[in-house]
Symmetry: C2
Subunit: 712 residues, 2 copies
């Protein structure tokens, strides 16, 4: 069956509309749920306000940052504006701005619904696990549907309006800028609050978790929303856009520059079918009166995966030009994603042996908690690295089969890899739903505690929360795997961009009768400039994560000082005199200002390093730089996410009465492990994805300048 | 001036003889020093015996291991023996055995002298810093001279006897096997003892460091010898041999297969001049009555560097065929080595701000000690990675200038990099002397304590020890940098080997009238097999170090149980009743057996991973594998060594009265940091070098098989 462009638009747009309608339906459903407990409502309101404070400040700074970048883009990208092409540069700058706005809106709506869902989920928990689960999950699903829907809508919009896939690089860079703020900034925020609340509250003052006397307690709950809901959403929005961008840029190079040839159509249809599968998956998520929330979450993921594979197979069968090789590539991507998730689970699940071993090591003291956690964290990188290696090799070989001439092998092969990334990210709507569920039920647990809803309700909330943690580990592994494939395909996109520029320059050179420039088809390790790039690129994620972790560290010192001040100066606070309240806002302010202050140098460092390497060694150095960045970035991201999850669950395992239980020396050691793991898994680890994406996109955007201006 | 082969041999041999004679002179000098304190002598004797126990066991297992490998080498390498070439395979196997023996002898002598020097250094410390320093330094210098002398002798021997540089791969692999046992095994031994002695002794039982009641105290002192003296010596023997091997293999490819053409002559002369410079440098090491030992050690390093640059410049001026480009490459290597050393120093010296910041973070608790140490450890990789990147780029470009035809560019360029590695390692004699000084004076401090030599002597020993730690950080950075350049040049050697095999096969193919095989001149990142190799290769050092750290962990648990048993079962031990002694030997046995047991799986894992990747993806996958290995290996080695050094010095900084001083909560936090850092810096970090070298050499040795037998 011939699939006309109009049909493609219709299919994609209808899916987007369906997703939005369903999201609105779910949001309204959540809002209609009972919400009568005054205390909870008041605290939930404080959290909502706190989240708004952060996001307002974040978006204000982001607007300034994005404004400066938009001007720079207009002036320099893809070519200096004074060399002609005002319209092109303007479109690029506008695409960039659109990217930030789309991502911001999706994040904002997600936060809104999440902060409605948390209070209602807490109340529902007093009626049992079934209604509470549904509220938590559906609140998260609104985020999932909004993010993926606006991804697809944004990409469609840019393509239709500009008819030029390179403009997607601007759009994608916009999304990355926002992700950098949301993920890394939110990550610093959330861990500042978490660590300070724990250290100053639980450890020093001996008051329980989520105690309303703790000045940092609201900031801690706000952190769950801004770091885990908005940050994670922006991160996956970014990865999803980046994978589509990479695939579409490469598709254009295969379709002779046409933005909407058959290869681009495949990308769009696969993405639309992924979204459709997620809608069905979300629809099927249910739980019995005594069912397991973990199972419910995992089952709906498997349903989504199955439907996606079936639908794309059907599309391949029906539509002209769709190829089984591409279906294979995306299926491999998706399956490897699941495998990486399962491997991550083995290393971080508290029913598997590793977590128990780390908990046991805590008996010998905190140094052994750290040493064993670091060791197993290092080991956990192997399955994911091998998985990414195998999936990209298979996808490459499948893509290469399609090459009509041997010269086009690399292009087709890289297109294959990009489709593996698209496949892995196809079910991202479901992944985000599962992921956003976590912080909602975590918040609900806090609210149940603060609202005095009683032991049984807290137990239910705890069960929901624990499922959130288990699922989070899996989805995080998935997100890192997807980001890995995405950045590999961005390397392909970078090569495509470079060659497009060279092709254009060659027209001029040919007209002037001068020698033509050679196309870039390889990045040779033994080329010293490439090697130079690899070494420098490999160091960037290490330094970037160090800057973020130190940011949390510095910021937490400030907040702890503030908590001490409040307990000293506010009379009756420590004793819990009724009516005496801490100044929650001060802590939120500190977390907000500090997070943004610590984040910007780290982000600029990554961008400037890319520019420096590019202007020193040109495109060859950048090819190596991106590769070094990918390799060490994946390694460190996997290590930090998994080690952090491992310590978190080892602590929980001890707290549930093992190895001495709560209050024992093992518990103290496990808490230290968890505190170290917190910025690993929630700040640095997941931000590395964004850092790599930002560097890759900067490289592609500035490609023209690198070609013309470099020292070696 | 024409430099005949006989002249080259004469120069090299005379230098070797000079080094050996000087080493013997120094050893005799050390032995002649006063050694009258009975207690010290008895304890020193126990340490000597313990070291012998370990080395006997180590060498026994190594002999079995090496025997099996030698048989395998004879059967399969470089080509299966049944395909003809019995003599060639036999020579390779014998070279391998010679490599293990040479390294073993050098290590054995070093240990011997070190364990003579420690007691004498302790006694001399009661007469002031001047005589004690000289004994410590000269004891270390014996090791340095022996190691470098036997390196050069071994390489000369293999070249003269076989007239085939490829046989050096076998010799070098022998040295690597030994280094794996000595460095990684010794590293597990020393940290098992150190950690157990501290935890069970200082922390649990509250007895001071180096207290003779502690059953692990002798094992701890033995550990300094076997891990730091013998292990470090074997490690640098290995790096030095590997760098010469890489350079000589590539030289042969430039000299039309001749093992001793002009390029090989340059390698030999540069190495000989490096040894000569070290001899002079060692000769000049002196200290005044109140001088600073750190300055004395650093000064002699600078003297050695200066003399080496002058002598090689002179050689370039005088000898026909010597080129300034090569002098430049080796000078760049050497200078970058010094720069990396200084950068390392900035991150680990307790007079620089970083250590103070980590010490300050300890005030907030151990989690912050860990987090800030990890962060600065990550940051510290940047200067070294950039340094290695720049030096290899410059050396490459300098080497490339010599290429007579464009096709030979890569070969000449890789020769340039290998000469940068030779340059960086030229002063290795001096480096080893400085490095072996550390454990000798560390032991001396322990002996002074156990022998009851009084406060003032211990203070002097402390000052000597602190200089040892500072210098160690610098030389470690140097060793990692040198290993980095070495493994890069081993990548070149691998390519040379592959092409030599292909050339040989092509003769057969041409005779049969079949199509010829293409030479390998690039490893393209965008080639999926190369990429597959990169990803898998990058994961290996992480898993390898995890296995070693867990090895220390498991082994320490065993030893702590043994310490508990002794304190429970040996009456009067805890109270220090005179005449009651712990069973030191039991602890030494546990450390020895455990170390070797934990090490072997890690070593086999690295070797088997190399073989699996090679048989899956052939030489392309191996090229990527080695690159991934180098990048992530350097990153992790630098991170772990520097973070470990940082925590060690932060603890010392707190102990010297800052941030609350000894016994404070900051101190406890700093001790936890140090305990985490111990296996980082003394077990895993420095063993990664060896792991990379082992993988590189296995790859080169098995090249023929990889070409003929692979899946993709």
């Amino acid at each position: 069956m011939e699939l006309g462009l109009l049909a493609v638009y219709t299919i994609a747009l209808l899916t987007v509309i369906l997703a939005f309608v369903y999201a609105v339906y779910l949001a309204v459903w959540v809002k209609k749920q009972k919400n009568e407990n005054k205390t909870i409502e008041r605290v939930a309101d404080l959290i909502r306000q706190g989240a708004n404070t952060f996001m307002r400040k974040e978006y204000t700074i982001l607007a300034a940052f994005a404004g400066v970048l938009a001007v720079l883009i207009f002036l320099f990208l893809p070519k200096p504006v004074w060399q002609g092409g005002v319209e092109r540069n303007l479109t690029m700058a506008l695409s960039y701005i659109a990217g930030t706005i789309f991502s911001a809106i999706a994040g904002k709506i997600g936060i809104l619904v999440a902060s409605l869902a948390n209070a209602r989920c807490a109340e529902a928990a007093s009626h049992g696990i079934k209604p509470a689960f549904l509220i938590g999950f559906r609140g998260g699903a609104v985020m999932g549907l909004m993010v993926v829907g606006s991804c697809l809508l944004g990409v469609l919009g840019v393509l239709v309006l500009t008819n030029n896939s390179s403009m997607l690089l601007g759009f994608s860079f916009g999304a990355s800028s926002l992700a950098l703020f949301a993920k890394a900034g939110g990550g610093i925020f959330t861990k500042t609050a978490d660590v300070s609340a724990d250290l100053a509250g639980k450890v020093e003052l001996g008051i329980p978790e989520d105690d309303p006397r703790n000045p940092a307690v609201i900031a801690d709950n706000v952190g769950d929303n801004v770091g885990d809901v908005a940050g994670m959403g922006a991160d996956l929005f970014d990865s999803n856009i980046a994978s589509m961008t990479a695939a579409l840029v490469m598709a254009a190079s295969l379709d002779d520059g046409a933005a909407l040839g058959i290869h681009a159509v495949m990308v769009l249809i696969y993405s639309a079918l992924g979204l459709l599968s997620s809608i069905v998956g979300i629809f099927t998520a249910k739980i019995g009166d005594h069912g397991s929330p973990t199972k419910a979450l995992n089952n709906s993921t498997y349903v989504t995966t199955g439907i996606f594979l079936a639908l794309t197979a059907l599309a391949t069968l029906l539509f002209k030009g769709f190829r089984w090789e591409i279906w294979g590539a995306s299926a491999v991507g998706l399956l490897v994603g699941v495998i990486i998730g399962l491997a991550t689970n083995y290393f971080t699940d508290d029913n598997a042996p590793i977590v128990k071993r780390v908990a046991h090591a805590s008996k010998t003291g905190p140094a052994f908690t750290i040493l064993s956690g670091v060791s197993y964290g290092f080991m956990s990188v192997l399955p994911a690295m091998v998985g990414i290696a195998i999936s990209s090799m298979v996808a490459y070989k499948l893509g290469a089969l399609l090459a009509p001439t041997p010269e086009l092998t690399v292009q087709y092969a890289m297109y294959g890899i990009s489709m593996a990334a698209v496949g892995m990210l196809s079910i991202v709507g479901m992944i985000i739903s599962n992921d956003a569920y976590g912080p909602i039920v975590d918040n609900a647990r806090g609210l149940a505690e603060m609202g005095g809803l009683g032991e049984e309700t807290i137990r239910v909330a705890d069960e929901l929360d624990s499922a959130g943690n288990t699922v989070k580990a899996v989805t995080k592994g998935f997100a890192i795997g997807a980001a890995g494939l995405t950045v590999i395909s961005l390397l392909g996109a970078f090569m495509s961009e470079v060659n497009a520029v060279i092709a254009e320059m060659n027209i001029g050179l040919a007209a002037a009768g001068e020698a033509l420039m050679a196309y870039i088809t390889t990045f040779d390790i033994l080329n010293p400039t490439v090697f130079f790039g690899i070494m420098v690129g490999a160091a960037i994620p290490a330094v970037f994560s160090a800057m973020l972790i130190l940011g949390v560290d510095k910021n937490a010192q400030r907040m702890i000082a503030e908590i001490h001040r409040q307990f000293k100066e506010i009379k009756g606070l420590a004793q819990g005199v009724p009516g005496v309240e801490p100044e929650y806002n001060k802590c939120i302010d500190i977390a907000t200002t500090g997070a943004l202050k610590e984040l910007i140098p780290a982000g600029l460092f990554a961008i400037i390093a890319t520019l420096v390497v590019g202007f020193i060694g040109g495109v060859n150095a950048i090819g190596g730089f991106l590769m070094g960045n990918i390799v060490s970035g994946l390694l460190l991201a996997l290590f930090m996410s998994n080690a952090g999850g491992l310590w978190d669950n080892a602590k929980k395992y001890v707290e549930s009465g093992n190895e001495g239980g709560k209050g024992s020396d093992s518990h103290k050691a496990a808490v230290i492990g968890d505190t170290v793991g917190d910025p690993f898994k929630d700040t640095a680890g997941p931000s590395i994805n964004t850092q790599i994406t930002v560097c890759s996109l900067v490289a592609s955007l500035v490609a023209t300048l690198f070609i013309n201006l470099h020292i070696f």
